[in-house]
């Protein structure tokens, strides 16, 4: 672990000069025998920003892990864990610093493999194996199908594998090639980043990995996907507008659906994994605004969008790392992360509760913490996009705005649920005990929490650090405007500090006033405050089982959004005069997993089983064990079956609905294919009979 810590410190120090504003690129060539490429490392503004992120989170995780692994002792040798963590750290730094395509891919693969071994650390448990396999397969498919061809086309066009040669070469490609490259990058790097619908490995891998590894997965590995996407954008010239709109729609879907699924989860780590999907959606939203700004030629807009995305990268690493470490402390202390079994932990592990509260407040984007600062920059960029009318004349940024607001509200609901049920109230399952958290874990969490608070309270000092990274991304635009745009990013943040300072002072002031008032009232009545059982309208014997459960808390939101979530509900109602047993279960299975990937892989498995049968000379081997969820058909299947049965029923309303839909599609097609302005009398596209009646 010392190695990891040292590497983290060195990376922060290395990133230093770039953060303070200078932007030359330093590079070094190492004489490693790499096939097809050279081992060329380089450091520029973008790399420096990601190195900072890696450094901060890895340092805290390094302090945390030894204490955690001692607590989960006896499951696997700790030396292997330390070695694998060092290897993961090295591969992360390699990916970020690589300046050669082959070196990048070597680091990418190394990162995936070391992470796989780390995720599968407790490999004696079947669900751990399953989660690790899903992680490996998903990421390898993403790499093999999309990232490799992307680099093949780019390096083929450039004739060399150096990153510096890829940029000018991409400028020579034609429009459709650029779009294809962008889509390949989106799918390939998006799988790593966790955009929908490629996100399914996140909720599978995070709950089963050891907690420090989950923190690194969410905090750093998915950011490597973002890094890849941003690198790709530095090479490509400004893309057509609809690419930005495509990314915006993908990020809106990821964000809203991610947080809705998170609301429906029963396990803390799986919930946090879905929140990572949501936050990656927010980061991609910022990137899409940056792309729209580039396509439209507005440097200020592009700079704001990219700056917001980059800030959220680091902020998310901080607060998601904090949340995972805190969840790990819960697991370490009680042995379970099932939300419905926990409760009242704030009394038994108060420091951990405070850390989780800081992380929860930060992830909801509430002031005065760091989540608000980056979301504020993204909001500013979206508003700027609406003002300038980019992206379908302002409609796309408006959609982004309303979904970001919705995501904020849903995230608040989700974390109020988690914190309220896990840490507050009374323990729901009496047999769950709680051990205190070790000091080293508290120190690690404290470091991250202090980072969150500092960034939130002093945003004016934090924002200038991102300038050199942003300037890397908007390089393809006129330099003078770019310079001005980037200098103007931190300006409003200084204004932001004033209300935040007011808020903090008011809180402190009110606490002091309350103390004085209480002292005065006590002196007045000569009785101190009393402590009794919860009143809640005069229940005589409140028990822990009467408390609101997490599923009940979230159920009204889930039912309101059932058109998007398709939750399942199994109810065994109480029956009879004195009912004895009843049973209620609610689940929200992931649509992408159920409708897209399970049929796909099930079909592939059946195909391979057929091949195996043939090649083994007619012996039918064991049926392939496809994890088939029987019973409830998902939304796609239900809609398709309903459509077919509706057609066959011959109902007039259905026929009419089809006519309407056809008409609407025709109108939309007509509207899209006539790009110019309205009401030109010379146009002949409308009714001819009316035209003959027009008297000029």
């Amino acid at each position: 672990m010392l190695g990891v810590f040292a590497a983290a410190m060195m990376s922060i120090v290395a990133a230093g000069p770039w953060l303070s504003g200078s932007s030359p690129i330093e590079s070094a060539v190492i004489s490693w025998p790499l096939p097809l490429g050279t081992a060329h490392l380089a450091l520029d503004g973008l790399t420096a920003w990601f190195l900072l992120t890696i450094g901060i989170l890895a340092a805290c995780v390094a302090v945390y892990s030894p204490a955690y692994m001692e607590g989960i002792a006896g499951r696997a040798p700790a030396a292997a864990f330390g070695a694998l963590m060092c290897a993961l750290m090295a591969s992360l730094i390699l990916v970020v610093c690589a300046a050669d395509a082959v070196l990048f891919l070597v680091g990418w693969e190394a990162m995936m493999l070391t992470a796989f071994f780390l995720v599968a650390f407790h490999h004696d448990l079947p669900e751990v194996r399953r989660g690790a396999w899903i992680y490996l397969i998903a990421n390898h498919i993403g790499t093999a199908l999309f990232v490799l061809p992307l680099f093949a086309v780019l390096t083929g066009g450039a004739g060399s594998t150096e990153f510096s040669a890829l940029g000018p070469a991409a400028g020579t490609f034609n429009r459709s090639t650029l779009i294809v490259l962008f889509v390949l990058g989106l799918l390939g790097f998006g799988t790593k980043a966790g955009l929908m619908p490629m996100h399914i490995w996140l909720p599978a891998a995070h709950p089963v990995a050891p907690t420090p590894v989950s923190a690194l997965l969410s905090g750093l590995l998915v950011k490597m996907g973002i890094y890849g996407l941003l690198r790709l954008l530095t090479w490509l010239p400004p893309l057509p507008t609809f690419c930005g709109i495509l990314l915006l729609i993908v990020s809106v879907v990821s964000g809203v659906m991610g947080v809705l699924y998170a609301l429906a989860q029963h396990d803390v780590k799986r919930l946090l994994a879905y929140h990572t999907v949501e936050n990656v959606g927010i980061i991609a939203l910022g990137i899409s605004v940056g792309m729209l700004g580039q396509s439209a030629g507005h440097p200020a807009l592009a700079a704001l969008g990219y700056a917001g995305a980059l800030l959220h990268v680091t902020n998310h690493a901080l607060f998601k790392g904090l949340l995972f470490l805190s969840a790990g402390a819960v697991l370490h202390g009680t042995g379970t992360t099932a939300i419905e079994r926990l409760g009242g932990l704030a009394k038994r592990t108060p420091v951990n509760a405070f850390m989780f509260l800081v992380g929860a407040t930060a992830i909801c984007g509430l002031p005065p913490l760091n989540g608000f600062v980056s979301e504020w920059v993204i909001y500013s960029s979206l508003f700027a996009g609406v003002f300038r009318g980019v992206g379908a004349s302002g409609a796309a940024p408006a959609l982004g705005l309303v979904s970001l607001a919705l995501m904020g509200g849903l995230a608040l609901a989700c974390f109020a649920k988690v914190f309220g049920v896990v840490f507050l109230g009374q323990p729901r399952d009496a047999i769950v005990s709680a051990h205190p958290t070790p000091v080293r874990m508290k120190i690690a969490m404290g470091g991250l929490a202090i980072g969150c608070m500092l960034i939130g309270i002093f945003p004016g000092q934090w924002l200038p650090l991102v300038q050199s990274a942003t300037s890397e991304l908007v390089r393809s635009m006129p330099p003078a405007e770019v310079e001005l745009a980037i200098r103007s990013i931190p300006a409003p943040a200084a204004e932001l500090s004033k209300p935040i300072a007011v808020f903090v002072l008011v809180v402190i002031g009110l606490v002091l006033i309350r103390r004085r008032v209480r002292a005065w009232a006590t002196a007045l009545h000569r009785t101190a405050s009393r402590v009794v059982a919860t009143w809640s309208c005069a229940y005589a014997e409140p028990t822990a089982r009467m408390q609101y459960t997490a599923s009940s808390f979230a159920s009204s939101l889930i039912v309101s959004f059932r058109a998007l979530l398709w939750p399942h509900r199994e109810l065994v109602s109480p029956a009879g005069t004195f009912p004895v047993a009843s049973h209620l279960e609610t689940h929200a299975p992931d649509i992408a997993e159920r409708e897209l990937f399970e049929p796909l892989f099930g079909g592939l498995a059946r195909l391979f089983a057929m091949v195996r049968t043939l090649s083994l000379g007619g012996e039918s081997g064991a049926k392939p064990d496809i994890a088939a969820e029987s019973g409830h058909p998902g939304p796609v299947r239900t809609l398709l079956l309903g459509l077919v049965s509706a057609l066959r029923s011959g109902s007039i309303q259905v026929r009419l609905a089809f006519i309407v839909v056809t008409l609407v599609l025709l109108l939309v097609f007509e509207a899209i294919s006539s790009p110019t302005a309205v009401n030109s009398p010379a146009s002949h596209k409308s009714v001819d009979t009316a035209a003959t009646e027009v008297k000029p």
């Binding site: 409760g343 108060p350 909801c364 984007g365 509430l366 002031p367 608000f372 504020w376 909001y379 508003f383 609406v386 009318g389 302002g394 409609a395 408006a398 705005l401 309303v402 607001a405 919705l406 904020g408 849903l410 608040l412 109020a416 914190f419 309220g420 109230g425 009374q426 409003p492 932001l496 004033k498 209300p499 007011v502 808020f503 008011v506 809180v507 009110l510 309350r514 008032v517 009232a521 006590t522 009545h525 009785t527 101190a528 405050s529 009393r530 402590v531 009794v532 919860t534 009143w535 809640s536 309208c537 229940y539 409140p542 609101y548 009940s552 808390f553 159920s555 009204s556 939101l557 309101s560």
Partner: protein, 311 residues
Amino acid sequence: MSILRAVLAVPEAIVLLALPPLLLSVIAKTKAKFSGRVGPPWLQPYFDLYKLIQKTPVYSRTTTWVFRTGPIVNLAALLTAATLIPVLSSDSLLGFSGDIILVAYLFALGRMFTVLAAMDTGSSFEGMGASREVTFGTMSEPALFLSFVVLAVATKSLQLSQMMGSGLAAEWQVAAPALVLVVGALLIVLLAETCRVPVDDPATHLELTMIHEVMALDHSGPEFAVITYAAALKFVLLGSILLHTAIPHPPSLYFLGPMLRMVELAALACLVGIIESMTARLRLNRVPMLLAGATVLSSIAVVLVLTGRMA
């Protein structure tokens, strides 16, 4: 800020802090008038607050520091928002470009800590109220943000005091239908966030039908005083946003401006009292439709404004 402005800010702040309970009694008197009663005295809320502060608080064994700090954070968030929202005059104390987002998220911060303080008691009623508060808060966020988008696009500014100032008066000539829709949406959001009929009934104490009152069941004494005052302050702040959008003042009114605003706030409180007397509380599963209606109103306003700029 000029010296005159800084000097005037002090009495303005004092009036602003003293005003909220008076509006509560305006609503109470209006409802009493409609039921043929006289109603409580005008200064009754102040007496109530004073009585509550003196009481000895009773805390539940299940609660932690979150229970005691929740109401304080809520009030602090609202007071900070009060420095950003123009209430009595047409500019705010600390306004800057982009402060609407800070205002919206300060309201959310207050909501988060109120909800957590409620969950801290470990009671099923408070959990129920917390769940409803969070659900309806989430559904009113899009309507609020879409209204802000309309105002921002109309006045080309992201600073709340500029968005609702004299620039808006010119917009009313041009884009009146969109702004009427925004006012309607903001009225529904006001009723939802301050927990008035038809979303919630502040007078009933039936636990199964309340949202805001049920979250404060276990708070007593000074904490309850803070919660009551904070609810009234939230009404003043959201009402000010609504009034400044609906009735922008020309800058030529100097000292009449704050007086007029106070009269307008009283009129708004009267209107809310009339709405409370004349409509029944909606069934809880119809409230999402009301909030969806507010979102629809503001989204149509956004489309009108965006296409109006194009054509």
